[in-house]
C-alpha cells in the first residue's frame, strides 16, 4: 500500500487509437494504492511525446474497472474521461487544441490544423452521444490551395443501438469562417439536420436537410453501400437555389474559371435527382425567372421559366417559357419552347421566335451529347423582317428592304457555331448569300468568323442612299471570298465588286464620284473639283469594278482591268453616255484602317458637298 507519496507507474506497452508506445511511465506527485484502487495525482507522462506537456490525475478501481482520468494541458485545455463500472465511457473536453490531432494522426501534420474543441461524448453498449463546439479553427496545405480560416460550428450526434443496427440523428451548424477548396470558396452559414441508420456496411439516410447561402434548401434520403462506396437508391431535392450566388460561387470557377467575371446569372432553380438500383434514374429541373447575360448587356437571355425533366428509360416532355432574348438592342418577343428529353439528347419542337416585325422559325433543333461534348444542330428560317426596323435596332444606317434568311443546317458547340449550307438574305432588291460560315469562340475574347459571301443584283440607288454616299443608279454584284474576321473586324478577304450585267440606267452623281476619288486622298478629290466636270450634277457610266485583297492590314486594290503592277493606274468607273467620266485609282496598296477612315470621312462630309 502506498499512502500518497510520490511514485511511478510503469507500463511496458500502451496501445490506444491504433498506436503503440513502449516503456510508458506515470510520475505521480501523490500516488495511493489501496485495495485495488489506484490514485495518481498531478502526474507527468513519460514515453508518450504527445502527452509531454500534460498533467494527469488518475483514479481507477481494478475491482470495479471504473475510474476517472483527467488531463490538463497548456492553454486551459482539459480532458476528463470517466469509465463507469458497467462499461459506459464519458468524455468531457474543453478548449482542446485541434493541433493535438496532428500528434495522434500524422497525416494531419501537413494540414497545419488549428482551433479549439469543447464538448462532451459518451458511449455505452446501447447509446452514444456527442456534443461538440469548434472555435477559431482552420487548416491549410502548403500552397494555400486548400485552406480554412476562423471556423466555428456546433455538432450534436446521438445514436441508439437497435438489434444489430445503430439509429442516429445529427444536427450541425457551421456558423463562422470560410473554406477555400481550389477552385471553390464556401462561406459559413450552413446547417445540417439528418437522421438515419447504420447496419453493417449499409448506411440509410432517413431524412436530411441542408441549408446554405445560395443553394437554398437541400433535402436528401437514401441508402448507401459503404463497402462499394456506392449509392443504392437515393433522392435529393434542391429548392430555390439562388443562381446569382450559386453559379459564380460553385459553377463558373469549376467549368469556366477564365470567364467567371463575364457571365451574370440570376433566378432560382429547383432540382430533383433520383437514383434507383445503383443507377441515376431521373432528374427534374425547374427554372424560375432565370436570366443570364454575357459581357455586360451585349447578350442577355431571360427571364425564362420552365421544367426540364430527364428519365433514364423513357423520353420526357419539358418546356421553357422565354420572356426575354436580347442581342445588342435586338429584342425578341416572348416565346415558348417545347422539347423532348431523352438519354443524351434534347429535341426541341418547331417554334416561332418573334423578333421585330418578323420571326425566327426553329424548324428543328437537337442538342445531343457527342464524343466532343455537347453539340446543338438545327435548321432555321426567318419570316421577313423589315431592314428599317432591324438596322434601327442594331444602330446601323437605316436600310430599306426586307431580311429573310434560310439556315438549313446550323451546328453549335461551346467553341464553334457553323452553318452547313447557306445563309441567304434578301437585301436591296438583290440577295446576299453566305456559305461556309463559322464563328469560332463566339464567347471568347477574340471571336473569329470565316465565310464566303456572294451578293447579286444589289440596287446601288438604295445602297448609296443608305450609306449617304451620293447617288448611284444601277446594280452591282459582289464576291467576298475567304472572309476572315477577328473580334468582328476583317483581317483577310478577297473582294470584288462589279456592275451587274444587263440593261439598266447607269448614272453616278458628282457627290458619289467625289467620295470615290476622296478614297485616294485629298489631292485626288481636289483635282475633280477644279475640272469642268464640276458643272454637272451627275454622269453616265458604263461599268463599275473594284477589288480589294486584304491581308496584313493592307488592301491590294484592282480595277476593271484586274490585277496589275503596284504603280499602274486602275479604272474604278468606266464612263459611258454624256457627260461621261472615268474614275481612275493610282494607289493599289492602301492601308485598310486608313481606307476605312477615309470612307467614314467621306460619308461624314456628305452634308456639305462642294460644287464650284
Amino acid at each position: 500500500m502506498l499512502d500518497g507519496t510520490a511514485g511511478r507507474i510503469r507500463l511496458d506497452q500502451l496501445t490506444a487509437a491504433g498506436r503503440q508506445w513502449r516503456a510508458v511511465q506515470l510520475d505521480c506527485r501523490r500516488l495511493r494504492l489501496d485495495e485495488g484502487r489506484i490514485q495518481c495525482a498531478d502526474a507527468r507522462v513519460g514515453g508518450v511525446p504527445e502527452l509531454a506537456d500534460a498533467r494527469l490525475n488518475l483514479d481507477f478501481s481494478t475491482q470495479s474497472r471504473a475510474g476517472r482520468l483527467t488531463a490538463q494541458f497548456a492553454n486551459d485545455a482539459r480532458l476528463t474521461a470517466t469509465l463507469a463500472a458497467h462499461g459506459a465511457l464519458d468524455l468531457q473536453f474543453s478548449h482542446m487544441p485541434v493541433s493535438l490531432l496532428a500528434r495522434v494522426w500524422p497525416a494531419a501534420v501537413q494540414w497545419h490544423p488549428v482551433g479549439a474543441l469543447s464538448g462532451r461524448a459518451s458511449v455505452d453498449g446501447r447509446r452514444a452521444t456527442v456534443s461538440a463546439r469548434l472555435e477559431n479553427a482552420g487548416f491549410s496545405d502548403a500552397s494555400g490551395s486548400h485552406a480554412a480560416e476562423a471556423l466555428a460550428g456546433d455538432v450534436r450526434l446521438s445514436a441508439v443501438r437497435q438489434g444489430d443496427a445503430w439509429r442516429w440523428e445529427m444536427r450541425a451548424a457551421w456558423t463562422a469562417g470560410g473554406v477555400f477548396w481550389d477552385p471553390v470558396f464556401v462561406p459559413s452559414g450552413v446547417s445540417l439536420l439528418a437522421e438515419g441508420q447504420v447496419s453493417g456496411q449499409e448506411v440509410t439516410l432517413f431524412s436530411s436537410r441542408l441549408e446554405a447561402p445560395g443553394v437554398g434548401d437541400i433535402t436528401a434520403k437514401g441508402r448507401f453501400d459503404m463497402a462499394d462506396r456506392q449509392i443504392i437508391d437515393a433522392a435529393v431535392s434542391v429548392r430555390r437555389a439562388d443562381l446569382a450566388v450559386a453559379v459564380p460561387q460553385f459553377v463558373l470557377p469549376v467549368v469556366a474559371p477564365a470567364q467567371t467575371e463575364r457571365w451574370q446569372v440570376a433566378g432560382w432553380v429547383d432540382l430533383d435527382v433520383q437514383w434507383v438500383g445503383g443507377e441515376l434514374h431521373g432528374v427534374e429541373v425547374g427554372l424560375d425567372q432565370v436570366g443570364f447575360a454575357y459581357l455586360g448587356q451585349r447578350f442577355r437571355v431571360g427571364p425564362l421559366s420552365g421544367h426540364l425533366p430527364w428519365h433514364r428509360d423513357t423520353p420526357a416532355q419539358g418546356h421553357l417559357q422565354v420572356d426575354g432574348l436580347h442581342w445588342q438592342k435586338l429584342d425578341f418577343a416572348p416565346f415558348l419552347l417545347d422539347m423532348s428529353v431523352e438519354q443524351g439528347r434534347i429535341k426541341v419542337d418547331p417554334a416561332r421566335l418573334p423578333v421585330l416585325d418578323g420571326a425566327v422559325i426553329v424548324d428543328r433543333l437537337t442538342v445531343a451529347k457527342t464524343e466532343d461534348g455537347w453539340q446543338g444542330a438545327g435548321g432555321f428560317f426567318m419570316e421577313p423582317v423589315s431592314m428599317r426596323a432591324l438596322t434601327e435596332a442594331l444602330d446601323l444606317p437605316e436600310m430599306v428592304g426586307t431580311l429573310s434568311a434560310s439556315i438549313p443546317g446550323l451546328i453549335v458547340t461551346p467553341r464553334r457555331a457553323a452553318l452547313d449550307g447557306a445563309l441567304v438574305i434578301a437585301l436591296f432588291d438583290g440577295y446576299v448569300q453566305a456559305t461556309g460560315l463559322e464563328v469560332i469562340e463566339p464567347f471568347g475574347l477574340v471571336p473569329r468568323l470565316r465565310a464566303d459571301v456572294v451578293a447579286e443584283h444589289l440596287d446601288m440607288a438604295q445602297l448609296t442612299e443608305t450609306f449617304s454616299f451620293g447617288a448611284v443608279s444601277g446594280f452591282i454584284d459582289l464576291a467576298l471570298n475567304d472572309l476572315q474576321m477577328a473580334a468582328w473586324k476583317p483581317v483577310r478577304f478577297d473582294a470584288a465588286v462589279r456592275s451587274t450585267p444587263g440593261d439598266y440606267r447607269r448614272r453616278i452623281s458628282q457627290r458619289a464620284v467625289e467620295h470615290i476619288t476622296a478614297l485616294g486622298g485629298p489631292s485626288a478629290s481636289a483635282a475633280i473639283q477644279r475640272s469642268f466636270l464640276q458643272f454637272f450634277s451627275d454622269f453616265g457610266y458604263g461599268e463599275i469594278g473594284v477589288g480589294c485583297r486584304l491581308a496584313s492590314g493592307v488592301c491590294q486594290m484592282e480595277g476593271l482591268e484586274g490585277p496589275g503592277a503596284d504603280a499602274s493606274p486602275f479604272t474604278i468607273v468606266r464612263g459611258g453616255g454624256i457627260p461621261a467620266l472615268n474614275v481612275i485609282g493610282y494607289n493599289r496598296r492602301v492601308n485598310w484602317d486608313e481606307l476605312i477612315a477615309r470612307v467614314k470621312a467621306a460619308i461624314a462630309s456628305d452634308a456639305a458637298p462642294i460644287i464650284k
Binding site: 474559371p257 475574347l445 477574340v446
Partner: protein, 137 residues
C-alpha cells in the same frame, strides 16, 4: 509599376526575335489589339499579386498561382479566375501573332520567346520559374 510593365511589353514586342525565322512581333491586328487591351486592363489587378508572390511567371510564357497564402481566403477564387483569364489571353496573343505573320506553326516559338522576355524583364521580387523550379528575382 504599370509603366514598367507596359514598357516591358513594348520592349518585348520590339526587341525579341524568333529563333526559327524573322517574325514580326510588333504586328498589330484587330485581334492582337483586343488581346493587348484586355491584358492591359487586367494588369492593374495582377501587379500587386506579382509583387506579393501570389502569382509567378512560368517558363512556358503563362502565369501560375505561386503562393495562394499571400491572398485572403475569400479572394483566392478570384485569384484563380484572374490567372486563368490572363493565360487564355496570352495563349491567344501568341497564336494571333503567329497567324498575323502568316505562320500559325510559329506559335510555340513565339510563346518561348515571350516567356524568356517576361522573365528577363520581371522586376526584382517577382517569382519566376527557371530550370530549377521557382525562384525570387
Amino acid at each position: 509599376m504599370k509603366t514598367i510593365w507596359k514598357t516591358l511589353f513594348v520592349v518585348s514586342l520590339l526587341s525579341a526575335s524568333l529563333a526559327t525565322a524573322q517574325g514580326n512581333l510588333e504586328v498589330d491586328t484587330p485581334a492582337i489589339s483586343a488581346i493587348k487591351s484586355s491584358m492591359s486592363q487586367r494588369h492593374a489587378q495582377l501587379a500587386p499579386l506579382y509583387a506579393s508572390g501570389a502569382v509567378g511567371l512560368k517558363s512556358d510564357g503563362s502565369l501560375a498561382v505561386h503562393d495562394a497564402n499571400a491572398v485572403p481566403l475569400a479572394q483566392r477564387g478570384k485569384l484563380n479566375a484572374l490567372v486563368a483569364a490572363e493565360n487564355n489571353d496570352r495563349t491567344a496573343l501568341y497564336r494571333e501573332i503567329a497567324t498575323a505573320n502568316g505562320h500559325p506553326e510559329w506559335a510555340g516559338d513565339i510563346r518561348n520567346t515571350f516567356a524568356q522576355r517576361w522573365i528577363d524583364k520581371a522586376p526584382g521580387g517577382w517569382w519566376v520559374e527557371g530550370s530549377r523550379g521557382w525562384a525570387r528575382k
